[in-house]
């Protein structure tokens, strides 16, 4: 398989006169945990939203495994093998944690109006398999004991684990996580990192937006830095620490506030 999972060319997004992402060309190597860093407002989440089809690029293109997927809808992106979490978690609040996870598998037999009536047996068998897998994925992210709780009533950190679990049900090869550790207590962060590294060993590629430099230093390689919508640095996490352009960008963003 090709080295590169994901590639962007000149990816740009304008909000009115404001250019949030400005000609980003980058590539993500298969099997890496790539860190995406940069000050607040650098355009990281906007970039994610273009990669996952949530936002249409104003210019440029996105390629997944060499295939041009620019402008595909989010559901098509998930089907194409790209899963994501959100900076602010989006649980299906009034559904159980288990149901949140059972939703995700693609092409479920009972997902049409008449499916539950016309293919009852096949649907039941598939439901049993999905339920079993969902419970094991929930155990994997240590949420097994919360399976029957409403997803809106678990902690913010648990919601981040839940989002990871949902994504895993679709078995994507590339997983984009937007600030998975932000606002999460150290215990849960530890679990999350362990799980990410375990999945990475199994071959999944991650792109992780993260502000916590200790996290990035310890777990991300390579690191890509954005500032004011542009890529200002690519290299190892350690190098990024001493990069003058990046330091400037962070200082600049701080004095802007």
């Amino acid at each position: 398989m090709a080295e590169t999972v994901l590639e962007t060319r000149g990816l740009t997004r304008d909000f009115g006169p404001f250019r949030a992402v400005d000609g980003v060309s980058l590539s993500v190597r298969r099997g890496t945990i790539t860190g995406l860093i940069g000050p607040n407002g650098a355009g990281k989440s906007t970039l994610f939203n273009m990669l996952t089809g949530e936002l249409r690029p104003s210019a440029g293109s996105v390629h997944l495994n060499g295939r041009d997927v620019t402008g595909l809808s989010p559901d098509a992106m998930f089907a194409a093998g790209m899963g994501r979490s959100f900076q602010i978690p989006r649980p299906f609040a009034r559904m159980s944690v288990l149901e949140n996870v059972m939703l995700a598998p693609l092409a479920q037999i009972g997902e049409s109006l008449l499916g539950p009536f016309l293919s009852r047996k096949a649907m039941r068998a598939q439901e049993d398999a999905i339920r079993a897998k969902a419970l094991s994925v929930l155990e994997f992210v240590t949420l097994g004991h919360l399976a029957d709780h409403p997803a809106g009533k678990i902690s913010g950190g648990q919601m981040k684990l839940l989002e990871l679990a949902r994504v895993l049900m679709g078995d994507p090869e590339l997983i984009l996580l937007d600030e998975p550790a932000a606002g999460v207590n150290p215990t849960l962060t530890g679990i999350l990192i362990e799980r990410i590294e375990e999945l990475n060993r199994q071959g999944k590629t991650f792109v992780i937006i993260e502000h916590d430099m200790d996290f990035v230093m310890a777990h991300c390689d390579p690191v890509i830095a954005l500032a004011e919508g542009r890529v200002v640095f690519e290299g190892t996490a350690a190098e990024s620490q001493s990069n003058p352009i990046l330091l400037d960008a962070y200082l600049g963003a701080m004095s802007d506030d």
Partner: protein, 326 residues
């Protein structure tokens, strides 16, 4: 004695018919989060559709197809579904309050069209000439009304069972996910637009069934029967019963219909004669108070929605923590 029994039969028939409409709304709002502010239009489409298809030939009136009753009833549902499909294609991109306003407008327009198209709907006088099925065999008395009640109850049961199985299926899960967070559902590979339209059309077809049965019961339908108050009544029933719970929808329909009819009777019986003129208005206010009170003190309704949990199916032993899902 016979009088009371007849009345109870009649009351139950209407309440069961309204229950069917509330179940349709529950599919749309309770499960999918679609705010249909024009229930009366889809109810009306089923009512007019059924009667117009089934009525005998009449001078200057569209119809006279000699269609068997059950086919006409299904035809009424199809008319409601078709209306919902068109409205849905045009409005489902509008979320929440906008959808509510747009569908409310559709209901007002529908009532006006029915009021003015004499050749089709009989205009303000309503659809006449319809003969209730099997009436010449059974006769028009209490026996007939009991048979009609049984027929309506069978359809209510079928609708209930259909929806219960539906919401317990992956389709129901999808509806709830779209209700809770469409963006998240899309990010997990689902396409909400199609599903929303499906739920809207199916729910409206069910309202159309209710409309068809209602018109059958009275052997008549007119614009007076599909005023906005009907939409409010159906909504009150769902809110009181419990959005997201089909048993709650039925309980709400019976409760509110009992409250509505008894308040009407009490007002006409005991209110001072100057107030008699305003009976309808007072009932409107009462129903408004019930909706507001419920939303304030028990927003989940009498029967709240139930969480789908792991024990609902056959239980599966989760594998050991830390093992890798495959």
């Amino acid at each position: 004695m016979i009088g009371v029994l007849s009345y109870l039969v009649f009351f139950s028939t209407v309440a069961a018919i309204l229950s069917i409409a509330v179940l349709g709304l529950n599919l749309q709002w309770g499960n999918t989060g679609l705010f249909n502010g024009g229930v009366a239009a889809f109810f009306g489409a089923g009512a007019y559709g059924t009667l117009i298809l089934a009525r005998p030939a009449q001078e200057a009136q569209f119809g006279g197809f000699d269609i068997p009753y059950l086919v006409a009833l299904a035809g009424g549902m199809a008319v409601a579904a078709a209306l919902a499909w068109v409205v849905g294609r045009l409005t489902l991109r509008l979320r929440h309050d906008y959808l509510a306003i747009a569908t409310f407008g559709v209901a007002v327009a529908f009532e006006n069209v029915m009021r003015t198209t004499e050749w089709l709907s009989g205009g303000a006088r309503g659809v006449r000439g319809f003969q209730r099925p099997l009436q010449d065999v059974i006769g028009a008395g209490l026996t007939y009304n009991l048979a009609l009640l049984a027929f309506v109850l069978v359809l209510l049961a079928l609708t209930y069972l259909f929806l219960e199985r539906l919401v317990a299926s992956p389709f129901g899960r999808l509806l709830r996910a779209i209700r809770e967070d469409e963006t998240a559902a899309r990010s997990l590979g689902k396409s909400p637009a199609r599903i929303r339209l499906t739920a809207f059309v199916a729910g409206s077809a069910i309202m159309g069934l209710a409309g068809g049965l209602y018109a059958t019961t009275y052997a008549f339908i007119s614009p007076q029967d599909i005023l906005p108050i009907l939409t409010f009544q159906i909504w009150a029933m769902l809110i009181v019963g419990g959005a997201g719970n089909n048993r709650g929808a039925i309980l709400g329909a019976f409760t509110i219909w009992a409250a509505w009819t008894s308040s009407g009777w009490l007002l006409s019986r005991f209110a001072p004669s100057e107030a008699q003129l305003y009976t309808g208005t007072i009932q409107y206010i009462l129903i408004g108070l019930v909706i507001v009170g419920m939303l304030l003190w028990r927003p989940q309704g009498l029967f709240p929605e139930k969480l789908v949990v792991s024990q609902s199916g056959r239980t599966n032993k989760p594998t050991k923590a830390g093992s890798v899902p495959s």
